[in-house]
């Protein structure tokens, strides 16, 4: 179809064009003010509801720094740290096995992921806690010979349960990270004469660590929260301590709020740490160059998929 010069009523003749310094009036966004106002109003309603509701805020304040709670939070931190460390070690070990040339090692790593990612972590905790029902004694010739209940204390069960489960997730992350380092660099290392072990340690893993660091940050935050599951196996971490207190004094919601405050404090600190860690390690990676806006801008970014 030929392009016809159309003369709609809106046509602007050249003669009417304004000068270069013409005033520009921006579009207004009344909708934004309205929706913002509605949200603020709802927030105020929620805050007021809690302020006047059946909560004794003085009790919350009182127990926030109670010895049992603080000790419990200490246990929470310790379980999380140990379980995360175990998870990272297992994740790297099985992640590397997952890409081994040896099909049996590959299968073993696949089996590990299949079992521990395919069952609920709470169930795994309970099984570890009750493992003595299956194996009454732990006997490794020359190393250890003890009753299982003495070895697998609630603390050990919690660390094993959470750590082994986390390891199964990290296995897949490590596998993906290793796979994303291009094959060419591996070949270049080989032509320099580097052995597979040297190539893995010096070329592949350092780049993998950088890629999986954001995931590890999320893992740490998730772990801090999931450690509360250990309350169910009589591990005296914070939630368990809070439960034991409110069974006696009845201040259920107050003590749960105390826990919420501590968990939020913990996850906030971890988020800040994650930000600086990512910024440090992201220095030369292509991924993190766009994020230089400071922590708060970073914290309000849209959540990544799978971020716990």
């Amino acid at each position: 179809m030929p392009h016809l010069p159309h003369s709609s009523p809106a046509a602007l003749p050249l003669i009417d064009l304004p000068g270069p310094d013409v005033t520009v009036r921006r579009l207004r966004h009344p909708g934004r003010w309205v929706s913002g106002g509605i949200v603020l109003l709802l927030l105020a309603v929620i805050v007021r509801a809690f302020a006047v509701g059946q909560i004794q805020w003085t009790v919350v304040g009182q127990f926030l720094t109670a010895g049992v709670i603080v000790t419990g939070f200490g246990w929470t931190l310790l379980i999380s740290a140990c379980a995360l460390a175990l998870g990272v070690v297992l994740g790297f070990a099985f992640g590397i096995m997952r890409l081994s040339e040896n099909p049996i090692l590959r299968f073993a790593a696949w089996l590990y992921v299949w079992v521990f990612r395919g069952t609920p972590v709470l169930l795994q905790l309970l099984i570890w806690f009750n493992i003595a029902l299956v194996f009454p004694r732990l006997y490794l010739p020359g190393l250890i010979d003890a009753r299982m209940v003495d070895v697998v204390t609630p603390f050990v069960a919690a660390v094993l349960g959470l750590g082994v489960n986390e390891g199964s997730y990290l296995t897949e992350v490590v596998r993906g990270g290793i796979g994303s380092v291009d094959r060419g660099q591996k070949e270049a290392a080989h032509t320099l004469g580097m052995t597979p072990g040297q190539t893995m340690r010096r070329i592949i893993l350092p780049q993998t660590v950088r890629l999986i660091l954001p995931v590890l940050g999320n893992s740490a935050i998730g772990m801090l929260k999931f450690s509360s599951l250990a309350a169910t196996i009589a591990m005296g971490e914070m939630l368990n301590a809070a439960q034991r207190i409110y069974f006696i004094n009845g201040a259920v919601i107050e003590l749960l709020f105390v826990c919420a405050v501590w968990y939020l404090a913990g996850t906030t600190v971890l988020s800040i740490g994650q930000y600086y860690l990512e910024r440090h390690f992201g220095r030369d990676a292509a991924t993190a160059t766009s994020d230089r806006r400071g922590f708060w801008a970073w914290a309000r970014r849209p959540a990544a998929r799978g971020e716990a």
Partner: protein, 254 residues
């Protein structure tokens, strides 16, 4: 002239696809050999068989007194453990089409990696020698940059320095300028020209006919996994006997 490389009856298949159909090649010390041929004719595969990045399905490669990847044992080829294979591979410097620099290492870090890890040089010694090589390829000023901060031509020059750092007997180049913007090709060819002048033994897969004509002592044309033509550049490039080689050359020279 003593031989540096002798390839004997190299065959390679991927699945049922036979890519190399029994190639023989001899390269003498100090010689520059250019391999030309249409895309998909097996040039990269041949180069990768020479340094055992790919294991040939048949035939073997002899480099400087040893068979790559094997040991002659009572008339049979006994496969070598990976550590000894790597030691052999480090005798052959390889420059890839896509540079393959270590992304997490600086320019200097890339060049000292092999000497430090494989040859056990101290950091000071490795760095001193690396700076000399970077000087040679005109990249000394960028020693502390990361690969992502370099142009393609700069990356390739660093990759050449990294390969040279192992003091290889032979340098292999797999289309070193094919991934470069046209204006960056010259700087890489210049470095290679200087290496050739300095007496480096080189096997170069390339589409740069001009470079082959000027620098090569011999030219090989590969088509469909076979060497169809081999000889002095003038002879092969201007008067090829094989009709398929003639078709290929008329296409690339056009």
């Amino acid at each position: 002239m003593s031989l540096a490389v002798k390839a004997v009856g190299i065959r390679k298949s991927f699945g049922s696809h036979e890519v190399l159909k029994g190639l023989d090649l001899e390269v003498a010390y100090g010689e520059v050999l250019c391999i030309l041929g249409p895309s998909g004719s097996g040039k990269s595969t041949f180069l990768r068989c020479i340094n055992h990045l790919e294991t040939p399905n048949g035939g073997y490669v002899w480099v400087d007194g040893a068979i790559m990847g094997y040991e002659l044992n009572r008339g049979a080829l006994q496969e070598l453990p990976v550590k000894r294979l790597r030691a052999q591979q480090s005798q052959l410097g390889m420059v890839f089409q896509h540079f393959n620099l270590f992304a997490h290492r600086t320019v200097l870090g890339n060049v000292i990696e092999g000497p430090m890890v494989v040859r056990g040089l101290s950091r000071d010694e490795a760095e001193a020698r690396a700076m000399g090589l970077l000087e040679q390829v005109g990249m000394a000023a960028k020693a502390s940059s990361y690969p992502s901060q370099l142009s393609g031509g700069q990356k390739q020059r660093v990759a050449i320095a990294r390969a040279l750092a192992m003091e290889p007997r032979v340098m292999l180049f797999d289309e070193p300028t094919s991934a470069l913007d046209p204006e960056l090709v010259g700087e890489v060819l210049e470095v290679m020209r200087n290496l050739a002048r300095g007496g480096t033994t080189m096997i170069v897969v390339t589409h740069e006919i001009g470079f082959a004509r000027e620098v090569a002592d011999r030219v090989v044309v590969m088509i469909d996994g076979e060497i169809r033509e081999m000889g002095a550049p003038q002879q092969v490039l201007s008067d090829p006997g094989d009709p398929r080689v003639r078709t290929f050359l008329s296409r690339v020279l056009a």
